[in-house]
Symmetry: C2
Subunit: 116 residues, 2 copies
DNA sequence: CAGAATCCAACGGGATACTG
DNA sequence: CAGTATCCCGTTGGATTCTG
């Protein structure tokens, strides 16, 4: 029953899959945010500090999109003043391997990247 | 000599590394193109077919950037009419693990992603 | 504290037509 | 075949101000 695997088809499937992921994790910040939250649940202000360079406006927007895609959850805590805690979902945490791979490549090639 | 690893610092380094990589691979198409070229060297027109949905204009631009960052090479062949072959560099091929990881996640979660 | 609102510049990216 | 040139729009993303 198994048909011989066509190399081109296999490549094609790969490209489509990558395209899906790049769509889900589009923009400049989502991978960083997910990596952060894979590391530990965090409050809005903590993320603002950890994800260097992001503005409040972008952080809000990215978090909203990630929540919509069920990669993270948002919990408003009964504190005064109010605090909000973001946490990775089980689904989102399946991305940990991916973020780690990216980070490791980045660390290995930091010198070369910066040298560009 | 080993200092105790500070969790926050470690996270911070990770985020910076991810940011570097996302900068290098910015946009919608670069990862797909690299994945394609990790698979096999290809001509411009082949890439245009393999990377579904990309326009000629974007393909040119992305290829140029990837070449500038020394991730791929561009070779003009002495044919009539002229053909151009793009090939991954040794440096670029160190990204293979990364593209594979992304593709695998995409394949595993295709149903869920589409369901969004 | 955690955002929403507003404004604005820059870039990404598609369509089309053109070139050597 | 492998691009370039032009046009144009939507999105990204920063700065700043405002709110419960």
């Amino acid at each position: 029953m198994e048909t011989k695997i066509e190399p081109v088809k296999e490549c094609s499937q790969t490209i489509l899959a990558i395209h899906d992921v790049m769509d889900l994790l589009n923009g400049k910040w989502k991978v960083s945010i997910i990596a952060c939250l894979c590391y530990s649940k965090m409050r809005y202000s903590e993320l603002l500090r950890e994800v260097k360079g992001i503005s409040g406006r972008m952080l809000s927007r990215e978090l909203k999109e990630l929540e919509m895609n069920q990669l993270i959850t948002r919990a408003v805590l009964n504190t005064q003043p109010v605090t909000v805690e973001y946490e990775i979902t089980e689904y989102g945490s399946t991305l940990k391997n991916l973020t780690t791979t990216i980070a490791e490549w980045g660390i290995s090639h930091r010198k070369k990247i910066i040298a560009k």
